[in-house]
């Protein structure tokens, strides 16, 4: 089994806010991240797929194809957007766009295309919010 990872970057704004909580609790738990005017990051998306190299091409997956899937499924929706306001899964307070939830949501966006292609499977999605902060999701519960 070979694990292959591709990186991409996107820039987006967000804020943390639980609509079920009073403002004071949001500010206490989320601190500066609760500023409802939002703030932004240069995120790095790291997608790892796992599989056996193809006998003919020697590829686990074609990196160009994986890049296109990442761009189409994730970057087109997230890059230069306000996640709380413009991205379906986070909009209207449905889901707080923490790094953890961004990793899980990116996984859900990527998995159907990767599964449909057959062969390799999605193994890990890691999202860096800054070079020092990241979250990852490996599927399942």
């Amino acid at each position: 089994m070979i694990f292959l990872t591709r990186r991409a970057t996107f820039s987006a704004s967000h804020y943390y806010w639980n609509e079920l909580w009073p403002a004071e609790k949001n500010q206490h738990v989320f601190g500066r991240c609760a500023n409802r005017n939002g703030h932004g990051h240069n995120y790095t998306l790291e997608v790892t797929v796992a599989g056996e190299p193809d006998a003919v091409t020697g590829f686990v997956v074609d990196l160009k194809w994986l890049k296109e899937v990442m761009e189409r499924e994730v970057l087109a929706a997230y890059d230069h957007r306000h996640l709380n306001l413009e991205v379906e899964e986070f909009a209207a307070g449905k889901l707080i766009p923490t790094t953890e939830n961004i990793a899980i949501s990116a996984w859900k966006r990527l998995q159907p295309s990767i599964d449909a292609a057959g062969g390799a499977h999605l193994s890990r999605v890691r999202v860096y919010e800054t070079p020092e902060i990241f979250a990852e999701y490996r599927g399942g519960q």
Binding site: N18, E100, A103, I104, E132, A135, E136, Y137, Q141
Partner: protein, 144 residues
């Protein structure tokens, strides 16, 4: 809010410290042989990077495995505050063990595990320089 899913949260910290690799159980010559430049008597230092990986359920209320501010406070108090800008050899934990990065990694794993407010400590990676790092993984034992 979706049901809790298991995810991982990673955070990198930096600490600068000095150390000398030397053990009293070897002769002076054997120490020089084993540790080379790292055995120089006055020690030397590194900018260590400590990467902490915490696993756990994403809290549906906060969207977090662990609150960054709470993790920072715990690691700041128990690790960075204790070792940053210090001589590792003089810390009591290294009285009876050589402060190699392997041993530092194990020590930090234990300290962070005890201080972790929530979740399970999955891995501690200590980067001694850009070209070498050491990792310590948790046992399969689940924590609350």
């Amino acid at each position: 809010m979706s049901a809790a899913a298991k995810a991982y949260f990673g955070r990198r910290y930096q600490l600068s410290a000095s150390h000398r690799l030397h053990t009293d159980s070897l002769s002076a010559e054997e120490n020089r042989e084993a540790y080379g430049k790292c055995n120089n008597p006055h020690g030397h230092g590194h900018n260590y990077v400590v990467e902490v990986l915490v696993g756990g359920d994403v809290d549906p209320e906060t969207g977090m495995v662990v609150n960054l501010a709470v993790l920072d406070e715990a690691v700041g108090k128990h690790v960075v505050g204790r070792f940053d800008h210090r001589n590792l050899n003089l810390d009591p934990v290294f009285r009876d063990q050589v402060p190699t990065t392997e041993n530092l990694c194990t020590v930090l794993f234990s300290l962070i595990q005890d201080a972790l407010p929530v979740g399970r400590l999955e891995r501690v990676r200590v980067e001694e320089t850009e070209n070498n790092f050491f990792e310590c993984y948790g046992s399969r034992r689940d924590r609350g």
